[in-house]
Symmetry: none
DNA sequence: CATCAGTGTGGGGAATTGTGGGAGAGTGTG
DNA sequence: CACACTCTCCCACAATTCCCCACACTGATG
């Protein structure tokens, strides 16, 4: 499972380094797509196929389902590591997540996330100001 | 169970000594992550896997759960003792816990904690000014 | 009092990683 | 059909990180 956060920069070709700690996780190829809260999600190929199967199950008649599918599916881009351990992000996805200059590569359960640095920091601060429920903590830590 | 408190310094490479009394506890590797009240938590590998399982179960659809997972998960770093009994703390975690110069290594149930010395002392004073409820004390101490 | 084992601290060299640029294939347009 | 542009893949260098080694200090022991 990938965890940790790492800062990198996007070069003018739209490339960004995948942290060495995460390279095994996406070694067989990956899918980048729009994520929640203004970041990008990166799924290993296997996990994506699982998601894809669920998306095709959603009813075509429900407008919110349609939009949800568009959000995830239309933005998706299949890619793989280059010889230097980077990936190239398509321009539309870069624009969606405001990825320019400094970006954060973040580990999450079952996926990776790519963030604009400012957005990431703002999000973290929000969490610290609203600490988790005590019972959740007790369950986690023991 | 690791207990006791020990003062060390962080060198300019971000390394800090793990007290000899705690080395058995984390000998098989450990995970350092953001903790509560501005300190860092250090879990042995086995305990972390337990926590990780809980985090993975939290629903992706709930914004506060997402952020809570990010807080713990993104701050996590797997590491192990070097030949001199030290660990290297990633820069983001050092910044989070203000670890520079003197730091305190503290034992806790199921985990270790790393504190900025001033924060640790301030916390101790706060406890003395607002002691726990008498019935809790009586239950604990007898 | 001398010696030794264990501990705290710093430094150096090798391997890995971060970043940029360039050549070649592929694509779209005039 | 030719040209220009884009995208992808590959290579090279600079910077950083990691790992190991060496030394000073402390406290215990004979």
């Amino acid at each position: 499972m990938p965890f940790g956060e790492f800062q990198y920069s996007v070069d003018d070709k739209g490339r960004v380094i995948v942290p060495p700690a995460f390279r095994d996780f996406v070694d067989g190829g990956m899918v980048v797509t729009r994520g929640m809260d203004g970041c990008l999600f990166v799924f290993p190929l296997g996990a994506w196929q699982h998601i894809e199967a669920h998306l095709t199950d959603l009813p075509l008649t429900d407008p919110s389902s349609r939009n949800f599918v568009r959000f995830f599916y239309s933005g998706a881009a299949k890619t793989k590591l280059d010889s230097a351990g980077r990936i190239t992000l398509p321009a539309p996805l870069r624009k969606f997540a405001a990825l320019e200059g400094n970006v954060m590569f973040v580990g999450a359960p079952n996926r990776l996330e790519i963030w604009n640095e400012q957005r990431w920091l703002a999000n973290l601060e929000a969490v610290q100001e609203a600490p988790p429920a005590p019972e959740l903590l007790r369950e986690l830590i023991g």
